[in-house]
């Protein structure tokens, strides 16, 4: 069974004359599926629909075999019940909370068990030293790790990554991607990773979907497909 099945249609009106239509259908196996494509092709919209942050015009979305959205049945499970981890492009760390409080925000158990889970996440993502610092007091790489730990500590059924590494230099990126990959494998969490960076796609992804003008223009193994599409995307 594929952990994620998506079929969505969504039309946006930028103004009276400009319209953008997203019409995609795909299923995603275990591992990391990269959604690759140029800016404005609808990558982030797909993630937002899956997380329930926006409601598509029509379609069906199921996560781990459970339907979370089905327009034919007017089913639309609210975001907070979808058990989906989401790492935003600008991270969206809570500025008034420490790193540890950010990570602990989504944990449903209280007391020592919560403390243990937060401590484990801090250690696995190598940020124990900044546990009591607020986001504005730590580096970009550390903020990145806090955002990942916060999304993963709740054991989501699916992790959504919206270009979270775009502001990092290559060296930092490499270390974070390595730790993220380890966590995803150890905990068998499938992920959908939006990027337009080939190196990031290669480093983290197993499979890739090419998105162009709101439609799936191709799919395949990440290592082979990225090279094949090089020319197409450059022209887009």
């Amino acid at each position: 069974m594929n952990p994620l099945k998506v079929q969505i249609r969504q039309t946006f009106s930028a103004n009276r004359h400009q319209r953008f239509s997203l019409d995609v259908q795909f299923s995603s196996p275990c591992g990391v599926t990269v959604i690759f494509g140029p800016s404005g092709s609808g990558k982030t919209t797909i993630l937002q629909c899956i997380a329930g942050l926006i409601t598509p015009d029509s379609g069906q979305i199921s996560i781990s075999g459970e339907d979370v959205y089905d327009s034919s049945r007017t089913l639309d499970i609210p975001t907070q019940f979808r058990r989906v981890g989401y790492v935003f492009q600008h991270l969206a760390l809570f500025p008034h909370m420490t790193a540890a409080q950010n990570i602990g925000f989504g944990i449903r158990v209280n007391g020592t068990e919560k403390q243990r889970l937060v401590r484990d996440a801090l250690e696995k993502f190598r940020i124990a030293g900044v546990a009591n610092h607020r986001p504005d007091e730590i580096s970009g790489g550390e903020r990145q790790r806090v955002a990942l730990a916060r999304a993963l500590v709740t054991q989501p059924r699916l992790l959504l990554l919206d270009e979270p590494f775009s502001a990092l230099d290559d060296e930092l990126k490499e270390g974070i991607i390595r730790d993220l990959k380890r966590w995803l494998t150890e905990n068998a969490i499938p992920a959908l990773f939006v990027t337009h960076d080939r190196e990031e796609a290669r480093a983290l992804g197993d499979r890739v979907l090419l998105l162009k003008d709101g439609k799936i223009a191709g799919e395949g193994d990440v290592q082979e497909a990225i090279n094949t599409w090089r020319t197409n995307i450059a022209c887009a």
Partner: protein, 223 residues
């Protein structure tokens, strides 16, 4: 300086401001985040005291508090008393009159909170109550204080509604602003000046608090 009127005014403004915090926060959250098409109708009702002459509001409140109205009859049935020309009536009137002064700064503060943070909280399993209590309210606290201070200051300075609903009963409904009017009518300019100057300095200090908080908020956001 009429100390009795000062104590009564402080008591009235404190009570009204506290009630406005309890009532104003949910109203402001709804105004800030609701997507209802008819939201403008409710917003207009909340903002009405800003444009309405205080005597108009005071008149209708007096009618509503009277024994001829269903509200007045209900209140009399429950408590055995009346709201008109009582301190309780003044509290109710002050809450209604100062509602926009509490709600508007809060709405501006709530709308200023980054929507991505709310979305992030929801993806982490937080329902509306947790999102509001753990993210929105702590981040928008200067706007809450601004709302509290403005509603307090506005209640201290209100005149028309107080006169209509409460009359001028010393120790019961005579606030500082009514006391100034009373002193002027009695040609006691010395007493009127003392009270007016006190109110002037008090209002200035409160506005200093509001603007320093706003400055703090800007610095916090730009860190």
């Amino acid at each position: 300086m009429n100390w009795q009127a000062l104590v009564l005014t402080a008591k009235l403004a404190s009570l009204a401001s506290l009630i406005l915090m309890v009532v104003g926060i949910p109203v402001a959250l709804w105004v800030a985040y609701s997507r209802r098409r008819w939201k403008f109708l409710a917003e207009s009702v909340v903002a009405l005291p800003i444009v309405l002459p205080p005597t108009v509001l005071g008149f209708y409140l007096l009618v509503a508090f009277g024994s001829e109205s269903w509200l007045g009859r209900w209140y009399q049935h429950v408590t055995g008393g009346t709201l008109a020309f009582t301190f309780r009536g003044l509290v109710v009137a002050s809450v209604l009159y100062s509602l926009p002064f509490a709600v508007h700064p809060m709405v501006a503060g709530f709308r200023g909170v980054d929507q991505k943070l709310l979305a992030a909280a929801r993806t982490l399993g937080a329902g509306k109550f947790k999102v509001y209590s753990r993210i929105v309210l702590p981040l928008a606290w200067p706007s809450l204080v601004t709302g509290l201070v403005l509603s307090f200051a506005h209640t201290v300075g209100e005149f028309g509604v107080v006169l209509m609903v409460g009359g001028n009963i010393p120790g019961v409904t005579q606030t500082l602003s009514i006391n100034i009017y009373d002193s002027v009518e009695a040609l006691d300019y010395r007493s009127a000046n003392a009270t007016a100057l006190t109110l002037l300095i008090f209002s200035y200090l409160l506005l200093c608090i509001v603007y320093s908080l706003n400055q703090k908020l800007v610095l916090w956001e730009n860190r």
